[in-house]
Symmetry: C2
């Protein structure tokens, strides 16, 4: 297509759930504005749905339950994939790209594992593959990382990118409630799905961490490379202890560039619930909101904040990508694709230097503190604070360490669990967002 | 140039102050990474400086005091303008664009008035004109507004985009100090220039508001369209009063889409110091940091936070633009330019609905409150709170209104100033960031 063409840009939409419905609505309601921004009208050629019988409030002639036919149509220039899951989206997107169509997708699970294959197909066909909506909903994160920071060296990305777990942890922090009752409440309010595993066990956050790490460090990182712990073991007691330390608990997706003393670089990508000091900007991100902090050598610390989920906010991100892809179809050119030239290896979790918070029930007798402290110092781990809580049968020790290799910390915890004077290690959490 | 060309991309840098020096450093230090990201090496063809004699730590053969010759060189593909001021940058950028060179600039004063002319030249020559560094330093704001939100309808942009004034107001808030002594301190610490007028009188913030409003509302907005008040009249008493109302004072750049009942749309762009409630995200942005809150119909409220000034952070934004412009030179295509199709008119300040905080010294006698309240109600302005402070000669009334047209509010203040029972109106500030 040549510059100043006024031929309409044909759009195929795969999936009409919350996000798809909003995308169709905005394309219809804002058609005049969108046409002016693209330089040509965008026309919906069809919408692929699973159940043709369900009333959708759009022209039924647009609906199809054969997404592969829709993707194959010659009058489709851009495919918007909002079905979710690996198959059939993987195959549909690949076919779209191979036939010269640009693709916009919000499918984080697919991207976390198959960005490489899809980006190669897009590069070969010289078309766009955009996925701003896959991480942090309406918040621009992918484009700033790929484009605005293209001349900088990103050192760390740390984000709250899962609304369900942040809703649960915020509620537990606010009212001292239990994990299970809060999860049930989140389900009733529509913040947690019937099977909440992907959210509460950190799989969703890990997929997003893989996408963020790949872009930030110009390397291929997949979900399998991401160390992952969920929030289902977090207790009301953990939140209370966090509060006593002027912290709260957040499920963080962390991507870090680890530079060894000899200059060798590795990537750490990890997801776990961590203590975060109240003065850290991520501590104030509550409810279903998302935020991503990016640290770069020259830019310093940047924060991006907003709505990380929901039909309209996610549709906003999809539409931004769609307008850019359509603009490129009209004016030529295309946006940057995956860049993996750096090929940095993944550091195992054991090598990552973190801080630990360890809460344990101990025998209330002289010498316990010294024995416990000995387990840390024998592994060269420096203790930041020790707090003794309760007495008698309720005696507890709360230890916060300085930074040390995660393997040494977890070995120490294993050793503590075997000690006679330690009745049980009730909680182990990492501490993030401090300067020490 | 064709795809996969490995010819180097020639870069001319105009100006070698704080930002220019950092841009040269990063281009040199990160050459390998930048080459991988662009798809070809970027080579500095020359750096234009005012004083050739000053030692710069780079090959003196690269230096020139004739920027026009550098811009005219055939082996220059991209011009990075970091001189500041209107002339000669305006002419130099125009010539660069007209000869097919892409341009990256951080020149907010120039862009606030001449984006139209420059964007037209860029569109005609089919090259890029990027200026992420012109607003809020390292923080990606221009690209998210132009691209990520390209499919949404922005309703409001409100930002702290001037580091000098935010440093001064934060310090006054923290220690109760006076405006003049804080300004002097800011000068000593390098946060205020010898002539601080452009910062403290809001000219810098107004230029940035014009740029933001133009992009957010797809209309031409220049600095002259921006209503502007500076911070030089802000007193320690204002900060104390703000605190009593659970607020702080911030110099805000506000761009708002005003929709009348009949659907007619207008733009308001304005800069003034305003009370901001402590729970609003902008209230916590302190020191030389910047932050921009964007509200859009579908995305909801987004916030972008980071370092708004300084050599390295601003250079990070310049480099992001430079890599994108170079990438487009290698791969073809170009980024979006100014879009002014909406052509929304500017609403005069008097029509804008705001809230006022009015602090006045009053005669300590019965009936004063009722007479004062009468002046508000006669202009159909509803009062939110009235607080009486002190007694006798120090008697004060502090009135906070609900939203009303700014003209009616300022008329009321003028009337209050003429009342016998009002000894003086000591302070008038707008209140922003509330839902009422």
């Amino acid at each position: 297509m040549t510059e100043n063409s006024t031929r309409a840009i044909g759009v195929a939409i795969l999936g009409m759930g919350n996000v798809g419905t909003e995308v169709v609505r905005i394309l219809t309601d804002n058609a005049a504005d969108l046409t002016a921004r693209v330089g040509a009208p965008m026309e919906i050629r069809g919408v692929a749905v699973r159940d043709l019988g369900k009333p959708r409030g759009i022209d039924p002639a647009l609906l199809t339950d054969k997404p592969e036919d829709l993707v194959a149509r010659e009058d489709v220039d851009i495919v918007v994939e909002l079905m979710g899951g690996i198959d059939p989206p993987r195959m549909l997107i690949r076919e779209a790209l191979q036939s010269g169509k640009s693709v916009v997708t919000a499918n984080k699970a697919l991207l976390a594992d198959y960005t490489g294959e899809l980006a190669t197909a897009a590069a070969t066909a010289k078309v766009d593959l955009y996925f701003e909506a896959a991480v942090a909903g309406a918040i621009p994160v992918i484009r700033p990382l790929m484009q605005s920071l293209a001349g900088d060296t990103v050192t760390k990305v740390a984000g709250i990118v899962n609304g369900t777990t942040n809703f649960i942890l915020s509620a537990m922090d606010a009212d001292g409630s239990d994990y299970n009752e809060t999860l049930a409440e989140a389900g009733r309010l529509g913040y947690a799905e019937a099977d909440p595993t992907a959210d509460v066990e950190g799989y969703d956050a890990a997929a997003k961490a893989a996408i963020l790490a790949s872009i930030a460090f110009h390397s291929r990182v997949t979900a399998l490379n991401v160390y992952r712990e969920g929030i289902s073991n977090i207790t009301a007691h953990d939140l209370a202890s966090a509060k006593a330390l002027d912290c709260t608990v957040k499920l963080l997706s962390i991507c870090e560039r680890i530079v060894a003393e000899d200059g060798t670089q590795r990537i750490s990508a990890r997801v776990y619930p961590a203590l975060v000091p109240l003065e850290h900007p991520l501590a104030a991100v509550n409810g279903a909101f998302n935020a991503v902090v990016v640290e770069a050598e020259n830019a310093g610390r940047l924060m991006f904040y907003g709505q990380g989920a929901g039909g309209a906010p996610t549709a906003s991100a999809v539409l931004g990508d769609l307008v850019m892809a359509a603009r490129n179809k009209v004016h030529g050119g295309r946006g940057p694709l995956e860049s993996t030239y750096a090929s940095l290896p993944i550091a195992p979790m054991g090598d990552v230097r973190t801080r630990y918070y360890v809460s344990m029930r101990v025998a209330d007798k002289p010498g316990v503190l010294s024995t416990v402290a000995g387990e840390f110092s024998s592994r060269n781990i420096s203790i930041s604070t020790v707090r003794q809580e309760g007495a008698g049968e309720d005696a507890r020790l709360v230890v916060v360490t300085h930074r040390a290799p995660d393997a040494a910390l977890s070995e120490t915890v294993a050793a503590l669990e075997k000690m006679d004077s330690v009745l049980s290690v009730s909680s182990v959490l990492r501490l993030e967002g401090t300067n020490e």
